[in-house]
Every structure is written in structure tokens, then in C-alpha cells.
Amino acid sequence: MSIAWFKYSSPMTFYGLAGHLAPWFGWGAAILAVIGLYIGFFVAPTDFQQGEAYRVIFIHVPAAWMSMFIYLVMAFWSAVGLAWNTRLSFMMARALAPTGALFAFLSLWTGAFWGKPMWGAWWVWDARLTSALILFFLYVGIMALWAAIDDRRRGDRAGALLILVGAINVPIIYFSVKWWNTLHQGASISLTKAPSMASIMLTGMLIMAFAAWFYSIAVALVRVRGIILERERQTEWVKVLLEQRS
């Protein structure tokens, strides 16, 4: 077990492994998404309170979950990278960030889309919405920091430090925002508690959640392959590989 671990933590072997795995996850994501969307849009019944608009939930909720989960994974890889100086961990963190930001944006976008018919407003300063917005800002900050640093060793480490500080802060932000909102209460609207969901809806949502998972993994693998190639381009094996391709 441990031997395999070390074997695959070398960029060269991981490059091959990722190449094998990525298509599987990609196809898995596509199939699951088709099934999930079919259930969401055709099988699931119209909600008697919310009408058809509620169907956004099949994208909105998985996206919101993924945006938070990916941040945790990035924090994990950053910690590993800083502690053991493993090159691959930093690459993983970099490969994940755009997907995380995408999901955070997607949850904001679909949420706003949903909010208009539900609350009559695109945006309210609800605790959950606000903390989702701040999470998105964190993603953007991390990517901006990477973009600003040319030197990749410096970029890796600086980004990892920021991700870790953010990871400590995210729960604190979440609770502070929550409390902020409840104390202010006065507001006329608040996020309605999710109506007890029909089981078919739950199924659809879970399938979509898995589709999001598979998609994230597939995209991360593809991206990490690109990063590996770019970073190891002066090594022998990449030169050989590139020659073979052309």
C-alpha cells in the first residue's frame, strides 16, 4: 500500500495514472448528469409551492456542496505540500481551484436565478448567501495570487499558505455571518427552509451530486496532467513523450 502511494506521488507515474482515470470519470460524470437531469426535469413532480422554478435545485445544491468540499480538499493538499514538500500536492491544489471557483459561481448564479421568482429579489443578505459569496471571493483571491506570481515554487507555497489561513477562517466566517443575520433579524425575508423533499427529488439531487464529483475529479486530473507537462518539460520523460506525440 505504502509503496504504491510513493510510486504514484511521483509526477511521472501519476501522469500516466491520471491519463487512464480521467476518461472514466469524465464519462461517469456525463452519464450521471444525463440521468440526474432527466429525473430532475422530467420525472420529478412539479412542486406545489414553488412551481417549476424549483428544478434549479438539481444544479444549485450539488454546486454549493462541491464548492465547499473542494476547498477542504485543496486545504488538505496544501497542508501535505507544505509539510512534506511534495510537488504533486501543490499541483493538485492548483488543478482544483478553478473547478471550485466555478461551482461557487454556479451556486451563486443559480441561487440568484431562483431567488427572483421565490423572493422577488435577485439577492438578499442572508447568512448562507453571504458566506457563499465570501467563499467565492476566497477562491478568486487564491487564483489571483497564483496569477500574480511567476516563480512557481513561490506561487505554490504562497497559495498554500493562503488556502490554509482561509481554511481556518471559513468556519469562523460562516458562524459569524449566521449570527450577524439572526441578530439583525428584522428582515422580511429569509431563506425558506427546504420543503420536505420527495424521495425522487432526493434521488435526482444525489445523482447530480455524484455527477459533480465525477466531473470535478475528471477535470482536476486533466488539469493536473497539463500542469505536470508544463513543469517537467525539461525532463527526459516529457521530451520523449512529446516527441512520440508529434
Binding site: V140, H184, S188
Partner: protein, 240 residues
């Protein structure tokens, strides 16, 4: 001497397009330098978004209050965004010696300051206009008010860049320059702020906004005619 003169083909100085070309060069140069850092362009927008988003966190989530303060907050944030990015307008070129080289150009210095102010507007002002509607939605402003807000910023942000270039030129040399920038420039910004935010308030309350906007436009024309010259003079003084 004739032999020597032929060895150097001195570019002809009587080219009437030269000033425009030079102005374009200065603008392109700064935009290129900003584009070199991919982050820069997006970063300035997000800075603006974040400053605006901080206010509800400090003030509370009630939509009626937020709608009331929205235009003011967006305007103040635009003002701060320009203020924060301004110190770098000349400072980096000063430090690495390329500002000296620009002053040694045969073209008049006023084109340098005008060009840099316009470049600043392209980099910081335009993205801000694009992002503003989203923020208006966050503050639940009605569509018409959002339109007026964007329009007021379209006229107002060049004023901020132009006035700011004067402040940045002064800051460059003087030791207490930091204070001067804030002290001189923020009060000068006040009319822009009042007309700009006032126009949106007028749209919100139904009083009308065209008077405010025309005043803002007049202020822009005035600034455009005065600021680059003052900035050029300040620059020469600062570099002595």
C-alpha cells in the same frame, strides 16, 4: 558637420500626428504593463465588488436601508478604488527610472500625464462600469436607477483618474505627499461624488437626474482641460 548630420537621421519633428501617436503610445504602454499581470485587470474589479459587499456586512441586511445607501456606497467605493490604485500611477516608473526617460522624450510632458490618466481609466474605470449593474442588484436597486448609476460612473470615473493623476504627481516627490494626496484630492472628488450619487438618488425618488448628470459632464470637461497640465507641472517639480 554635414557628414555627421547624415549619420543620424533625426526624426522629423514637424509631424502633426506625432502628439496623438505619442498619447496612444503612453496609453498602450500602461495597458500592456497592466495586462502583463493577468491578475491586475480582474483584481481591480473584485476589489471594488468587495468594498461594496463589505458595507451590508457592517450595516445589516435590511433591503430598504440598503437601497437607500446603495448609490452612495457604490460611488464611494469607486472613489476608493481609484484612490488606492493611484499611488502606483507614477511611483513604479519613477523608481525604475523610466519616468525620467518619459520626461526626456521630445513630446510635451502633458501628454505623458494625460496618457497615464486615460490608461488608468481604461484599466480601473471601465471594468468598474461593467461590474456595477451586479452590485446594483445586490442592493436591490430598480433597473432605471442602475442605468443612471452606470451612466453617472461613466462620466464620473474619468474625473477620478484625471484628478488622481494630479495627486499622484504631487505625492511622488514630497515627503508628506501621502497626506497631500488624500487631503487635496478627496475634497476635489466631492463634487463628482455629490453629482454622481445625487443623480441616482434623483432617479430613485423620481425627481429626475439630467441636471445632475449635466453638471457632472461639465465638471469632466473642466477637469480634462486643467488636470493634465497641473499634473505635468507637479511631475517636473517632483523629479527635480
Amino acid at each position: 558637420m554635414t557628414a555627421m548630420a547624415s549619420a543620424y537621421d533625426t526624426p522629423s519633428a514637424d509631424d502633426s500626428f506625432a502628439p496623438m501617436r505619442f498619447l496612444g503610445t503612453v496609453i498602450r504602454r500602461d495597458v500592456l504593463l497592466a495586462a502583463r499581470r493577468r491578475g491586475d485587470w480582474l483584481t481591480s474589479q473584485f476589489f471594488f465588488v468587495m468594498v461594496v459587499s463589505m458595507f451590508p456586512l457592517g450595516i445589516g441586511p435590511e433591503p430598504e436601508i440598503l437601497r437607500m445607501i446603495g448609490p452612495g456606497v457604490v460611488w464611494v467605493a469607486a472613489l476608493l478604488a481609484s484612490l488606492l490604485s493611484l499611488p502606483r500611477l507614477f511611483a513604479e516608473d519613477f523608481r525604475d527610472g523610466s519616468l525620467e526617460q518619459m520626461l526626456l522624450s521630445p513630446e510635451p510632458t502633458v501628454l505623458v500625464t494625460l496618457g497615464k490618466a486615460l490608461a488608468h481609466w481604461c484599466i480601473y474605470g471601465i471594468p468598474l462600469l461593467i461590474i456595477t449593474p451586479v452590485l446594483g442588484i445586490q442592493f436591490s436597486l430598480p433597473a432605471e436607477a442602475i442605468g443612471v448609476l452606470v451612466l453617472s460612473l461613466l462620466i464620473g470615473t474619468p474625473i477620478l483618474s484625471l484628478l488622481g493623476s494630479v495627486g499622484a504627481a504631487l505625492t511622488l516627490g514630497l515627503r508628506g505627499g501621502g497626506v497631500l494626496l488624500t487631503l487635496l484630492i478627496l475634497p476635489l472628488y466631492v463634487p463628482a461624488l455629490i453629482f454622481g450619487a445625487g443623480a441616482v438618488d434623483g432617479a430613485l425618488s423620481g425627481v429626475g437626474y439630467s441636471a445632475h448628470l449635466s453638471l457632472l459632464a461639465a465638471f469632466l470637461v473642466l477637469t480634462l482641460m486643467v488636470a493634465p497640465w497641473v499634473a505635468a507641472a507637479a511631475l517636473r517639480v517632483s523629479l527635480e
